[in-house]
């Protein structure tokens, strides 16, 4: 048996359309278990009214993003030992910059609608599923895989610019647009994000890349997309009439 830790789970709770309050749950946990397991245990044994989002429990679905002690975490792969200590506190809150439906459940519909506008495919050839500056997989065999972005929304929650404007597209959507543009050179997706609420609202805090649990590096992708957009605009300024320029 592992040595159990006594911890206090502080959960920010909220019924639909009511003010939030904090509720405390005293738990004995294996420090190697993940924060999501603790939350599920509270639901199973202490309070069946607790609501939270989760599905895969191994970081492929992106449903269980929450703020743990003030930092955005994918709770299914966040061991208790990494975020508190024996007799410590674990404060769990819903993601910021999303409407709260109840307790730890946020409304991701606006976010998914914007992601869909970019037409980002969830599957890509192995060589295109990763960041472009990473080496190609050491195989000549041509396979495909699910891309890195799991649409967890951690980047949106951590983004200070998203905190100032609800109309801002947010890091995940801009990163998705960059991914699509680098795959397809399609100017439509560039037009989609070349606006005040798109690429130009970001003020380079890089919080998105700091919290991303899945190697997307949204901040790098936003900067890369800005470069591509500026280059495209400059080419358009200097292009002679009737001269064809690659997009």
């Amino acid at each position: 048996m592992p040595t159990l830790w006594k911890i206090t789970l502080e959960i920010l709770r909220q019924r639909q359309n009511q003010p939030p309050h904090v509720e405390l749950f005293e738990l004995e946990v294996d420090p190697d278990e993940n924060v999501l397991d603790c939350i599920e245990r509270v639901w199973a044994f202490h309070d069946r009214s607790l609501t939270f989002r989760h599905a895969c429990h191994h970081s492929t679905c992106g449903a269980c993003g929450m703020r743990v002690n003030g930092v955005e975490k994918l709770t299914c792969i966040t061991p208790v030992r990494e975020v508190t200590h024996p007799n410590g506190v674990l404060r769990v809150e819903p993601l910021r910059n999303f409407p709260v439906l109840s307790d730890l459940v946020v409304d991701v519909s606006g976010f998914f609608q914007r992601m869909e506008q970019t037409q980002l495919s969830s599957i890509a050839p192995l060589s295109q599923a990763k960041l472009p500056f990473e080496p190609n997989p050491p195989t000549i065999w041509q396979g495909q895989r699910l891309i890195d972005c799991i649409e967890c929304g951690l980047c949106v929650s951590a983004c200070p610019a998203a905190n100032t404007s609800t109309s801002y597209f947010g890091p995940a959507v801009l990163a998705a647009a960059q991914h699509v543009y680098r795959q397809t050179n399609n100017p439509t997706v560039m037009q989609l994000v070349n606006c005040a609420d798109g690429l130009w609202r970001c003020h380079s805090a890089y919080e998105c890349s700091a919290v991303c649990p899945s190697n997307v590096d949204p901040a790098w992708r936003i900067m890369d997309m800005r470069r591509a957009t500026v280059a495209h605009s400059l080419r358009n300024i200097f292009k002679r009439p009737n001269q064809k320029v690659a997009p």
Binding site: R53, A55, I77, E116, S121, L146
Partner: protein, 387 residues
């Protein structure tokens, strides 16, 4: 619109979502009640192997045939969330090798295309495989994203008019004056309020929890929650689904997914699948099984450890020998409880055919003659679930 027959589905896992999609295409008014989120029970936590059926071609040919047929259909209609890179069965010792003959025969009998590779050929395809492997076979396996597969079914169902109410927990089923189960009470966990819903039919698609729903009205089901543990590692060490060439056993499948590999699984029975603790012994057991297939696992960081409760149909025996195929219970014939149907058992790979058979029964009861169309209708983008 009110003249359309209405069905309430309990549970939004793979089966409930695929069933909502099927019934919506047939013109039924569908409402799905789910106590958590989409795929927050067994479905979301599934291993993620799109089974070619080769795993069952010796021990359970019926399940194998279902899997090869359905994995081909899913790879067409749900390509948006499937890594369809094929799989390998590898023999690591003489006992595995002795299984080859039965495996080849089983694959042929069930129509699963396999190809024998020499150890060198296998290592060329998958350099991280155990270099001491004795033989390998290719199989048409794949890997899927569990949540996105369920969402894709739900998204398409929603586009066709189905209503999904998540965080609605069913608390009671009620009979009308004639003893027909047509009404249920659900607890909206967002608001804390109770609400009743009525329909022409109620279908429980609650998988490992089917017994709990059936017990609300004294109906019978014979499902055994049979959890298994899975361990995810932080590197994509293989690109094929790697199966051990042996009868179905603990830790016999290592799959790639995104930048990870995931080993699974164990098999034991529980009464209540709401919370199943993870034991260190099982985690270590999976680690050893994974290292046997791909030794580099030993130097790879663990990323997640999780548990999922399969709904296995009891057929007089226990554990691994339970049939992987599904069962649709007509409680009118079984318990004299008209209005209630239970669908349980099965696998993620066979969710579409489970939905088809259940919808066939439901339509027959409602006097509808609409045929199933789900084989040929590509699923809409999973993101449209949130539209």
């Amino acid at each position: 619109m009110n003249s359309r027959p209405s069905i309430l589905i309990i549970g939004a896992g793979f089966t409930g979502c695929a069933l909502a999609h099927d019934l919506s295409l047939r013109g039924v008014n569908v409402t799905v009640l789910e106590r958590g989120e989409i795929a927050s029970g067994t479905s979301g936590r599934t291993h993620g192997l799109l089974h070619s059926g080769a795993r069952y071609c010796v021990t359970d040919p019926e399940a194998a045939i279902e899997c090869i047929t359905e994995s081909r259909i899913l790879s067409q209609i749900a390509a948006q969330c499937i890594e369809y890179n094929g799989g390998l069965f590898v023999a690591l010792n003489d006992q595995d090798l002795a299984y080859s003959a039965a495996f080849e025969q089983g694959a042929q009998a069930t129509g699963i295309p396999i190809e024998r590779l020499s150890p060198q050929q296998a290592l060329q395809r998958e350099p991280n495989l155990n270099p001491n492997l004795l033989a390998a076979y290719t199989v048409p396996d794949g890997t899927f994203d569990p949540l996105r597969l369920a969402l894709a079914f739900a998204a398409t169902a929603r586009q066709n008019g189905a209503v999904f109410l998540t965080h609605h927990e069913v608390q009671a089923l009620h009979a009308d004056g004639q003893g027909r189960i047509t009404k249920l009470t659900a607890w909206n966990r967002h608001t804390g309020q109770q609400q009743t819903f009525t329909a022409d039919l109620i279908i429980s698609a609650t998988g490992a929890w089917a017994g709990q729903i059936a017990a609300m009205v004294g109906a019978s089901t014979v499902v055994k929650p049979t959890p298994g543990i899975m361990v995810a590692y932080n590197q994509r060490l293989v690109h094929h689904a790697i199966n051990r060439l042996c009868p179905p056993d603990d830790g016999d499948i290592l799959i790639p997914q995104r930048r990870m590999v995931v080993i699974g699984t164990t098999s034991f029975e529980v009464e209540n699948p709401d919370y199943i603790p993870i034991t260190a012994e099982q985690t270590e057991q999976m680690q050893r099984a994974a290292e046997a297939l791909v030794p580099a696992i030993a130097n790879t960081q663990r990323r997640g450890v999780y548990m999922s409760a399969r709904p296995l149909i009891v057929s007089g025996s226990s554990g691994r020998s339970l049939s992987r195929t599904f069962k649709c219970y007509d409680h009118e014939a079984l318990d004299g409880l008209p209005g209630l149907i239970t669908i349980t058992g099965g696998k993620a790979t066979t969710c579409r055919i489970m939905a088809e058979k259940t919808a066939d029964l439901a339509c027959q009861k409602l006097g509808l003659s609409a045929p199933c169309r789900t084989k040929d209708v590509p699923l809409r983008s999973y993101r449209l679930y949130y539209s």
